[in-house]
């Protein structure tokens, strides 16, 4: 019998797991995918929002603000790439300046510090690549950018190293409430747990609706992006927004925490929660809308396109806390933007509720931090040299675009909640995330995974078990 079962290993599930791992409890996280961060948490803008656009009084506003404030120290402790680069909301017409002022007032009410409406000249001096059509902008110095993969992976690692179990390839098909515990049906087995925390992203309504009479309805809202080569990673330094609309924060242009350039997303409600495909129209729209904000988009530097699904709940706000009619069942549902920003704070909050309910005690052995993590690429020549002397596998470059070494890839595989797939290695090390998108290192990473995990190369997948790369031997089919 587990004390806590967490459904979903996205950034929310990982945050809750990290926060709960401080306590002396038996905890398990289950996810239908083969790794952490395979849902919405891997496909978003990676912005740490300052918090001016959430309606005052909402959970979105509350957790956005707490999340934003704690992000700097948090990311430092858990070695997550993060930069407080500031953000700008552009107005293209002097008539829109009152809208900027209204956002500023709302932000100030939410507790956002340092908001300022800047003149055209001030804005262009800050960001020379912006369109000359800019009339004014709202500047939010507390806005930031974070690596969403590392924000998820780091917390899963901390949780796991403190005893939380992770079970992948495990689809929760149904949940039954017994008097004092839950029976959770996963694949063909049953797991019993005293409490259940629903962090199932776009599927969190379905999980909730199995247990609670307070029905939720999540409509997936697709957002498509284009990602650009690091070569143009400094095209803009701040995150550039347009004025928000009913459908969200509009198309943004931003550097990422890993120094790529990112533009997007679109915002369309769709029916299919499994549809994370990109469309020709979507990419076209992203490029055309972004070209209102900036001078000329360096389209020849696009390295990939992707899309993510926002878990938009009918109420418009996050659903966080114990279900009123199901004791021991907790929701973190409808966590759309600013969910990434809010995640660590939501994790702390839910952990607090659950551990109080279970009367849990703090562990004495809790380790608050990650095992040593070395990145070769940013080091100086002298430090690189020393590192290779200490471990010669740092002398073998596997990914030439991002300069990732054999030592780093092996570490990513053997760390807590280690990588088992090509994409898993990519998200942990950036091998394959560069301009050739794994064309060169893909076969090498596959070989390393197969060797380190003692698996046949034909079993190594890009992400889920079915996404295998090699289908057989040469001439096998002749």
């Amino acid at each position: 019998m587990y004390d806590v079962l967490i459904i979903g290993a996205g950034v929310i599930g990982a945050s809750v797991a990290r926060a709960i791992s401080k306590y002396d409890l038996k905890v398990i996280v289950v996810d239908k995918h083969s790794d952490v961060c395979e849902g919405t948490s891997k496909a978003n803008s990676g912005i740490v929002h300052s918090g001016y656009d959430a309606k005052p009084g909402t959970l979105k506003a509350k957790f956005n603000l707490i999340g934003n404030k704690m992000m700097g120290e948090f990311c430092q402790r858990y070695r997550v790439p993060f930069r407080r680069n500031g953000s700008l909301v552009l107005a293209f017409d002097v008539n829109e300046i009152p809208k900027l002022e209204a956002l500023k007032t709302q932000g100030t009410l939410n507790g956002v510090e340092g908001l300022e409406v800047l003149s055209k000249e001030q804005v262009l001096a800050m960001e020379p690549n912006l369109s000359s059509q800019v009339a004014a902008a709202l500047y939010a110095p507390t806005g930031g950018i974070v690596d969403p993969f590392e924000l998820t992976i780091s917390q899963a690692e901390v949780a796991n190293q403190n005893g939380v179990e992770f079970q992948f390839n495990s689809l929760v098909s149904s949940i039954v409430k017994q008097t004092s515990h839950f029976q959770v049906f996963v694949n063909d087995t049953m797991i019993e747990s005293k409490t259940v925390i629903n962090c199932a992203g776009v599927f969190s309504d379905e999980i909730n609706n199995q247990l609670s009479a307070h029905k939720l309805k999540i409509t997936p809202r697709k957002g498509e992006y284009c990602l650009f080569d690091k070569e143009v990673g400094h095209f803009v330094d701040r995150t550039i927004f347009q004025l928000p609309t009913a459908y969200g924060k509009g198309v943004l242009v931003t550097p990422t925490a890993e120094n790529n350039l990112l533009i997007g997303p679109t915002a369309y409600d769709i029916d299919d929660k499994y549809d994370n495909s990109t469309t020709a129209e979507g990419i076209k729209e992203v490029l055309s809308k972004a070209s209102q904000s900036v001078k000329s988009i360096p389209t020849s530097f696009i390295i990939t396109a992707f899309s993510g699904l926002r878990a938009t709940e009918t109420s418009g706000d996050f659903i966080i806390g114990e279900a009123k009619d199901v004791e021991g069942f907790y929701n973190a549902a409808g966590i759309e933007s600013p969910g990434l920003t809010a995640a660590p704070a939501i994790g702390d909050y839910l952990a607090d509720l659950v551990t109080k309910k279970l009367n849990a005690k703090m562990k004495t052995s809790y380790i608050d931090g990650r095992a040593d993590l070395v990145r070769f690429e940013p080091l100086s020549v002298a430090d690189k040299s020393k590192l290779i002397e200490s471990n010669h596998e740092f002398g073998k470059i596997i990914c030439r675009c991002e300069m990732v070494t054999l030592a780093e890839i092996k570490d990513a595989i053997h760390r807590p909640v280690g990588a088992t797939t090509i994409d898993g290695v990519k998200r942990r090390t950036r091998a394959g995330a560069g301009r050739c998108q794994g064309g060169f290192c893909g076969p090498k990473v596959l070989e390393i995974l197969s060797k380190e995990l003692h698996k046949d190369p034909r079993e190594i997948a890009k992400f889920d078990q079915q996404a295998i790369l090699l289908v057989g031997f040469d001439k096998e089919n002749l």
Binding site: A280, I303, L469, N477
Partner: protein, 419 residues
């Protein structure tokens, strides 16, 4: 810090020939740095025939062709360092490389020759909409799996792009037991050599769909199919012409990009057309003492040209070290009227021995057109070509005596003319 007269970066056919060129020009203080565990570069995975027709007058496989050069390197006792990856070149020509066995190694060079080859363009560069499942490979990656590792990356295959690697992989995958459904090419002509279309597609009845492209990738885990469509003159898909093709693999052969990260970092000026360095007649880049040859300079279709070009670069590096290379770039070489680019792009008469060659590609297909070379306003070459296509590199030869006869020459222009 190790002193070396000539440091060659990359041990593919270009690097090997450059070393031999330098050696035969009289400098033996050379090192070749290669990141792979064997010499020969991309040739190691090209196990098909068709290499060396020009140089050796016989048809060799890629590994056979490179073996001849590797043997010569061994015979001449030229130093090579394998599993050694260059990570930096400084302005002072300090080359930093790392290897598992020796850690960080730094060379102070007098001349550096760039022969790093090229890489394949990925899917993102095309932004093909749809899912991002497994089963999408660049053709060269698939070639490596099949020819080197012995694994099949798929059973039923659509190939996008009819460059040489795509064509060769259509045949290879067929021979290894896969069902190659078609090769889809967005342009109205193939980007590959004519002989490859005949030998790799026609001989196996694999359809080549010209003026078509892949408009969508299906399958959320493994590729389950692709949608293809006809394109108009502006290469936009035409509504209503979509067709679904079931397959588990999409191979991309959509172009090669010279691998110039190192060159860019040290400040070598890159030609946006070739994505390779701008060079003089001596294959010297915009930075004194740094030379370039082979696919890092511009993408070649025949390895023979790679070898001869690189041999020259090696020879000129020695000239440079001996103070015999004039730095002044007196004459500009321009590409115009259907010529996409030229290599080199500047010329100094005093550095030319008896003749010099200008290599170029056309930007479109031309039938029964003329390749013309103008010395300022004067047309000095005008030769008829039955066909010119972007898939085949062309060469014009300029004799030194023509240049000497025109001491005030400013510009050489290469053009394609109807008559």
């Amino acid at each position: 810090m190790i002193n070396k007269d000539i440091v060659i970066i990359g041990g593919g056919p270009a690097g090997l020939a450059a070393a031999i060129g330098a050696y035969e020009a009289g400098n033996k203080n050379i090192v070749i740095l290669e990141r792979d565990n064997l010499l020969g570069g991309i040739l190691n995975q090209c196990i098909h025939n068709g290499f060396g027709l020009h140089t050796f007058k016989e048809e060799l496989t890629g590994p056979e062709y490179s073996a001849r050069y590797v043997k010569k390197i061994k015979d001449l006792n030229i130093e090579t360092k394998l599993e050694t990856m260059v990570i930096d070149i400084s302005n002072e020509l300090i080359v930093s490389a790392i290897s598992e066995n020796e850690g960080m190694v730094q060379y102070q060079a007098k001349a550096v020759i760039l022969t790093m080859g090229c890489r394949e363009r990925p899917r993102g560069a095309l932004s093909i909409p749809g899912y991002r499942p497994s089963g999408i490979f660049s053709a060269g990656t698939a070639q490596r799996f099949v020819n080197i590792e012995g694994y099949m990356p798929g059973k039923s295959v659509v190939i996008l792009g009819s460059g040489d690697i795509g064509l060769i992989m259509a045949r290879r995958m067929t021979l290894e037991g896969a069902d190659v459904k078609m090769v889809v090419e967005i342009m109205p002509y193939s980007g590959g050599l004519k002989r490859n279309i005949v030998q790799c597609l026609d001989d196996f009845s694999i359809p080549l769909k010209l003026s078509h492209t892949v408009t969508k990738i299906h399958g959320s885990t493994r590729v389950s199919g692709v949608t293809i469509a006809k394109v108009d003159d502006l290469r936009n898909p035409i509504k209503g012409t979509e067709e679904y093709v079931e397959c588990d693999t999409l191979l991309l052969s959509v172009g090669l990009i010279p691998e110039n990260e190192l060159s860019r970092k040290v400040g070598v000026i890159i030609n946006p057309k070739t994505q390779g360095p701008i060079v003089s007649e001596s294959l010297e880049t915009s930075i004194k003492g740094i030379f370039a040859a082979g696919n890092v300079l511009h993408v070649h279709d025949l390895v023979d040209h790679v070898s001869s070009e690189a041999y020259l670069a090696g020879k000129n590096a020695v000239k440079y070290i001996n103070g015999l290379l004039e730095e002044l770039k007196m004459i500009d070489i321009l590409a115009s009227d259907g010529v996409r680019y030229t290599v080199p792009s500047t010329l100094n008469v005093n550095n030319v021995e008896d003749l010099t060659q200008i290599r170029f590609r056309s930007s479109d297909v031309y039938k029964d057109a003329y390749v013309s070379v103008y010395f300022d306003e004067e047309r000095i070459l005008h030769s008829k070509k039955r066909i010119l296509t972007p898939g085949e590199m062309e060469t014009v030869t300029i004799l030194k005596k023509w240049l000497i006869e025109r001491p005030n020459l400013k510009t050489i222009t290469v053009k394609i003319e109807k008559e």
